[in-house]
């Protein structure tokens, strides 16, 4: 079950999103401000973060920047939530490394769909990485064998060569 962290200062929004996400079958954690994002990420290890832009203490963009600067958390996909919907905000979010951007008001289906898409992509990415890792390991194994073969062949050949020189 994928873990989702919801960060928003409005209790009602958090309640709405958590119910929607829970209904869609995700495990949900909550944070009320940008300043709580990093501790929450470290303690819950979420697979996806839904991050509100306007929050009182630390806003969403700042929190996003902090997430993407930390190598341990930069791979976690982040979907920004905002009511402002200004093109500049969209650019800011994209430049900072947000995966997606949801404008208020949204329909629940839309949020579900986007989250689902993001999680699916994440899983695919993970499995691909796993496959690559396996393939990589396999190829490393192959390379080792080939090297051994080459070395042993050389040994034989080399011995022959030395013999030729001595004669």
């Amino acid at each position: 079950m994928a873990k989702i962290l919801i960060v928003d200062d409005s209790a009602d929004i958090r309640l709405l999103l958590s119910r929607t996400m829970k209904n869609a079958g995700y495990e949900v954690f909550q944070a009320t401000d940008g300043s709580e994002v990093m501790p929450a990420v470290h303690s819950y290890q979420p697979d996806l973060i839904l991050l509100d832009v306007s929050m009182p203490k630390v806003d969403g963009f700042t929190a996003l920047g902090a997430l993407k600067n930390d190598p341990r958390t930069k791979t976690i996909p982040v979907i920004m939530i905002t009511a402002k919907g200004h093109p500049d905000d969209l650019d800011t979010a994209r430049n900072l490394g947000a995966l997606d951007y949801i404008n208020k008001p949204w329909s629940n289906g839309e949020v579900e769909l986007r989250v689902q898409w993001a999680i699916t992509a994440l899983e695919q990415q993970r499995s691909a990485r796993q496959r690559r890792k396996v393939e990589h390991d396999q190829s490393k194994e192959d390379a080792k064998l080939a090297e051994l073969e080459r070395l042993s062949a050389e040994e034989e050949h080399g011995a022959g060569g030395r013999n030729t020189l001595a004669s």
């Binding site: 209904n23 905002t82 200004h86």
Partner: protein
């Protein structure tokens, strides 16, 4: 050989001439004596019998005769010799004088400095004529004379450079005393500088006609020297003038600030003209000025010592300055010819020189020079001032135009900045409005979706909670939309108030009751202090209620929990005075200034945790002002905020029957809903 003979002859002739008449006479007497002796000898010769008796004279008699004769001759010769010597010394004396006079002339032709020249002349003249005081004066076109040079004892008011009337109209004590001191006087004109040379002696009847003749001869010798020196001085002054004018020209082209131009003109011109003050006056209307005088303002006044004038003063300019006859009469020069004019101050001896500043045939102002020295300004100075004013007038005009242009640019920049700020404020407004509207809308639609979905809401309790949230957010939206509508109506000027008499005490009691739920949430208390039992006011009750509600909700929002909020209600003169005092976070001066602008919210952590549109106080202020009242704010960060209102329209108590119906048909009443449901506190 021949050349040598000629030289010898010349020497001999010179010797003869130098031995002069005495020797010549003696030389002439000797042959005379010989001739006499020869005659006497032939007359009384023993050869001639007629005179034999003569031979009977004893040798003593002959000797006596010869002695007498000889002595007579010798005496006569001595007399002649004496007379000859006297004549010789007179000739020598005359020659010495001639030499001295010509030496004066030679010396005079050597020096081009007038002052040194006069000193030299005065020293050289002493060898010819004795005197106690030597003065050179020159006549000025202003009907005065100036003392150019003095050699002798110092007398107050009679130094070099002093000005004297040519013919004093009234007896001058100083001059009388001076004249009494020097009993003899000899004056001769110096045509070369249109002046006079006067020598004075303390002795009475010291000078004769011969002395005057000598003095005239001396002046004839020095005249070319004086003429040269005068021309030299004039050309030197021209060079200096050109230099200064060039300096002014440079300053005028390089400076753009009028004041810098005036300062430069002041410092340069003061080297050419000796004046006490330089002023520049810009006139309001040049045409009017020419007709009947006019007003202007002093834009520059050097050395602010002159009490009655200083920079920035408005002055009335006297048209009689330009009365030609007056100017010509007083100053002796024609202002039409040279443009500048002079005027003697009526109050004192101060003289003025004024040169018009003319650009494109329009008078823009005057360049004024003043001096306490009555002879300071003559045609030369006037011409110079006119020249300077011709140079600076276009520069002043340019500077004025530049200043006007700069001002225009600044105005445009300011307007641009205001528009930019207004545009930014509009953007900010839209952004805030969209955020504040969309959040409740999202919540409402989201929860409705949840309710609509099959497995959205599991329990009955969840369903009720969901509906409560929807209700709350719908109310929030309502408040917000009403605020925005109010703001846009206030902005457009279509906001209506329907005044009707109502009881302030009743209103406050109602508000107190309705705020209880909000206060309870944050454990705050609202204390009402009122001096009056039953105060009535003629105002829009719903709107005044809105005003107080807005201020009170702010006080609740921005005060910590468990604090007290005071509402003071009293009568101040003919107005109702309400004060809402909280002990909350307060505001800085900067925040207070922008508080009454739409959507402003003080930017700090606490305010960011409190939702709100920032419209409340703007609406409160506008409504109060629509009622003819005023709102004042006092706040200190960390101490608290006090908002005070004054409302006019206090009225007597009105019974229910007397109330006009309009009071009840007014717009929406405020507050109608349960305030505790609104999102007023931090969650």
């Amino acid at each position: 050989m021949g050349r040598r003979t000629r030289a010898m002859t010349r020497v001999r002739t010179w010797r003869f001439q130098s031995s002069n008449s005495a020797h010549r006479r003696v030389a002439l007497l000797v042959p005379g004596f010989v001739a006499f002796a020869a005659t006497a000898f032939t007359e009384f010769s023993p050869v001639n019998p007629g005179v034999t008796a003569f031979l009977l004279w004893t040798p003593a008699e002959v000797g006596l005769w010869a002695f007498l004769l000889g002595a007579g001759f010798i005496w006569s010769a001595r007399m002649d010799l004496k007379a000859a010597r006297r004549g010789l010394s007179e000739v020598r004396r005359a020659e010495e004088l001639r030499r001295a006079i010509s030496a004066i002339g030679v010396a005079a032709s050597w020096d081009l400095d007038l002052n040194r020249l006069y000193r030299r002349i005065s020293q050289d003249l002493r060898s010819i004529i004795e005197f106690d005081r030597f003065t050179v004066t020159s006549a000025l076109p202003t009907g005065r004379m100036r003392i150019e040079f003095v050699n002798g004892n110092a007398h107050e008011g009679l130094e070099t450079g002093s000005l004297l009337p040519l013919s004093p109209s009234e007896p001058d004590g100083l001059l009388e005393e001076y004249r009494a001191q020097y009993k003899s006087r000899l004056t001769a004109a110096i045509p070369a500088c249109s002046g006079t040379l006067t020598i004075r002696s303390r002795e009475a009847d010291r000078y004769t006609a011969d002395h005057l003749d000598l003095l005239r001869q001396a002046i004839a010798q020095i005249s070319p020297g004086i003429a040269n020196a005068t021309v030299f001085r004039a050309s030197e002054r021209q060079v200096r003038e050109r230099t200064v004018l060039a300096e002014i020209g440079r300053a005028v082209t390089s400076e753009q600030e009028p004041h810098a131009i005036f300062e430069s003109v002041d410092s340069s011109l003061s080297r050419l003209i000796s004046y006490d003050h330089l002023g520049v006056v810009l006139v309001d209307d040049g045409d009017a000025f020419y007709r009947a005088g006019g007003a202007g303002s002093i834009v520059y006044w050097s050395r602010d010592g002159l009490a009655e004038r200083s920079r920035g003063d408005r002055i009335r300019l006297d048209p009689c300055v330009f009365s030609l006859t007056d100017v010509i009469q007083r100053t002796g020069f024609d202002p039409l010819g040279i443009g500048a004019s002079g005027k003697v101050d009526d109050r004192g001896s101060r003289v003025w020189l004024q040169a018009p500043l003319v650009v494109q045939e329009r008078l823009i102002g005057l360049l004024m020079l003043s001096s306490d020295d009555a002879g300071a300004f003559g045609p030369e100075q006037a011409a110079l001032a006119q020249n300077v004013s011709l140079q600076i007038a276009p520069a002043i005009r340019n500077a004025q135009m530049l200043a006007a242009e700069r001002e225009l640019r600044e105005t445009l920049d300011r307007q641009n900045q205001q528009l930019y700020e207004a545009n930014n404020a509009r953007k900010q407004f839209l952004s805030t409005v969209s955020h504040e509207l969309k959040t409740p809308l999202t919540i409402i639609s989201g929860f409705i979706d949840l309710l609509a979905s099959k497995d959205g809401v599991s329990s009955e309790e969840d369903r009720r909670e969901t509906l409560r949230i929807i209700r709350k957010n719908a109310d929030q939206l309502d408040v917000l939309i009403n605020d925005i509508l109010d703001i846009s109506r206030l902005d457009a000027g279509t906001f209506k108030i329907n005044p009707a008499p109502f009881s302030v005490n009743k209103l406050i009691a109602d508000l107190h009751a309705s705020f209880q739920s909000v206060l309870k949430l944050r454990s705050q208390t609202l204390t009402v202090q009122s001096n009056e039992d039953d105060t009535w006011i003629d105002a829009d009750r719903a709107r005044i209620s809105q005003v107080i509600t807005n201020i009170l909700s702010n006080a609740c929002k921005y005060s910590p929990e468990k604090t007290e909020i005071n509402l003071i209600c009293e009568i101040d003169g003919d107005r109702l005075h309400l004060a809402i005092v909280d002990h909350g976070i307060g505001m800085t001066g900067e925040e207070q200034q922008s508080l009454f602008t739409a959507f402003f919210r003080a930017d700090n952590e606490t305010t960011r945790t409190v939702p709100g549109t920032g419209l409340g106080l703007v609406i409160a202020k506008s409504i109060t002002e629509l009622h003819g009242g005023e709102v004042r704010l006092k706040s200190r960060p960390g101490v608290g905020t006090t908002i005070e209102l004054w409302l006019p329209g206090l009225t007597a108590k009105v019974t229910a029957e007397e109330l006009p119906q309009a009071a009840f048909t007014g717009s929406r009443l405020w507050p109608e809903r349960d305030l505790s449901e609104l999102d007023l506190g931090a969650d």
